[in-house]
Symmetry: C2
Subunit: 330 residues, 2 copies
């Protein structure tokens, strides 16, 4: 008899149940079960808020592993909502390896075998009063065949992109993330809040993509167990940090001008994801990757107006001020 | 008295008239006057086809040079049309220098002074029966302070992105480009047609962005004069290769399905420009660059549908076949 209850998952895990069951202490197994659980919990909560249903697709990679992509598109509350789990392994393709060596100088020029398990989600609501949410939590292992060394790290984050600034919502969101961080380290929130502001920055525009949240990468101390607990808290904080903001704002009225502004900011979201985002680039450089799951993060519609400038004193100008000068919310 | 007639230009050239006038044989001057003339001719022809007017903005860079950006947005025939001239110089920023060294191994790690003059244009019509056009012709000089050597080259191309396949239009377009090429070399068209198919390829999708045209880069033989004449022919062929296609198709009826498909293909256009395009990346990595002029190439609206697949036998499937397997049109 298995110890694994899959009833709340969106699909069977990527790895065979028997294999997971026989390795319950293994960090790979723990991570896969965590992301499967979080995917199930988020999708159910989003379905409750929306009234729609996620389409679930299970896919596999010829080289090893696969994933479960859940998408709800053109629905009532969500214009495009994706919650994607992937558990993949293989040899790092040259372009992806080179990108990884920029941050991981310890990796040799030889063959790099990798394992990656992560959950990645972008939720684009239709109503401009409801912010877009992104979260991603991942565990990475690289076996360096030249040196015989194994490297591993965790990364992730949760960040919010509102179109109309409601300060109390942003404070609420950051407070939830801080609660999760505080359980694991006094300085975690301030450290990872700052990292988030730096990471989700559209350099060529000189502006943040949203109001931030938390972000970290390459975490490998003190040990698997401690970091896994921290990552678990972060992943569990996504639902309470976001769903109440959706429910509070989803039925508010909005104008066509609000909608056009939202589409314009979605254009900025596209710029960030295609030009800067590590996960997206890593995915696009990986042959045999499932492109539709990677680019699921792009909005249904985006807009680029030449030289758009919000008029002084407008709602748009107010939120731009926060994007250009990221604020401390707590 | 000056020899330069600026009456057909969209604005005064970037370089002072007196300076241009005193260096009429200089390749920099010749290139600047060529791109100013082509900008004027294209903008007038597009205004005639559309009925609207280009907004002309002259901008300058603190480090040296500037440009003239002409944009017609949300107009009758064109949803977004940009024809941009820039004449800039300075020291290559590290990120741009590194990108350039990938192709130009001869460039040292020292300071690189550069000069660049080019015309760049993307024309996005509203009606899905009218293809999007891109063209770009540029001259580059790099002074390598470590070696004391001066490097120079020309690059450019013209390519077409239809949404609905009208074979006779594509053949007409390629024929015009071939005529321009044939005046300068027997194998120019076939060589640069192939290069275009390879360059404007969305690798992660395994498909071309459109039906190609011509593309070349790093041309530096046999000499300035010969290549300048070739580039002049190419730039002069843009108007006759495209305007008749606009006039022929601009008043055709289209369905909402045609429009949605066009927006989806525009999403692919955004992917190409932000992920692969050299000119865009070079611009984004150059501090103090005019971002709005660089990203003028992005469409007014783009769409990303998860796992969109044209139904077999449809118009969409027919044109996809051409994107996946680029064809010889002549």
């Amino acid at each position: 008899m298995t110890h694994i209850d899959t009833s709340a998952f969106m699909a069977c895990p990527v790895t065979e149940i028997a294999k997971l069951d026989g390795s319950m202490e293994n960090i790979k197994t723990r991570m896969e079960l965590l992301i499967m659980r979080i995917q199930g919990e988020m999708c159910r909560a989003l379905e409750d808020a929306d009234g729609g249903k996620f389409v679930v697709e299970k896919w596999s990679r010829s080289e090893g592993g696969g994933g479960i992509t859940c998408v709800m598109q053109d629905s009532t509350v969500f214009e495009k909502a994706g919650v994607n789990v992937s558990v993949v392994s293989g040899v790092l393709p040259p372009a992806a390896a080179q990108q990884m060596r920029v941050r991981h100088k310890e990796l040799s020029e030889g063959n790099l075998h990798f394992f990656a398990a992560g959950i990645s989600s972008v939720l684009h609501p239709r109503n401009p009063n409801v912010p877009t949410l992104h979260f991603n939590y991942r565990y990475f292992e690289v076996d360096d065949s030249s040196t015989g060394k194994k490297h591993w790290w965790f990364g992730g984050g949760t960040d919010l992109t509102p179109y109309i600034l409601v300060e109390e919502d942003v404070v609420y969101f950051h407070t939830q993330l801080k609660l999760a961080c505080d359980r694991h380290g006094n300085d975690f929130y301030s450290k990872y809040k700052k990292w988030c502001d730096e990471y989700f920055f559209i350099t060529h525009r000189g502006e943040a993509r949203g109001v931030g949240g938390i972000f970290f990468d390459d975490l490998d101390t003190p040990n698997h167990d401690e970091i896994f607990k921290f990552v678990t808290s972060c992943a569990e904080s996504v639902k309470p940090s976001y769903i109440p903001i959706v429910l509070k704002n989803k039925d508010l009225d909005y104008s066509d001008a609000d909608r056009q502004w939202q589409l314009l900011r979605r254009g900025r979201y596209v710029e960030f994801n295609l030009i800067y985002d590590r996960g997206t680039k890593f995915g696009l450089f990986t042959p045999d990757a499932r492109i539709e799951s990677i680019l699921m993060s792009l909005p249904l519609i985006a807009r680029w107006e030449y030289c758009h400038k919000p008029s002084p004193g407008s709602k748009e100008a107010k939120i731009m001020e926060v994007f250009v000068n990221p604020r401390d919310w707590i």
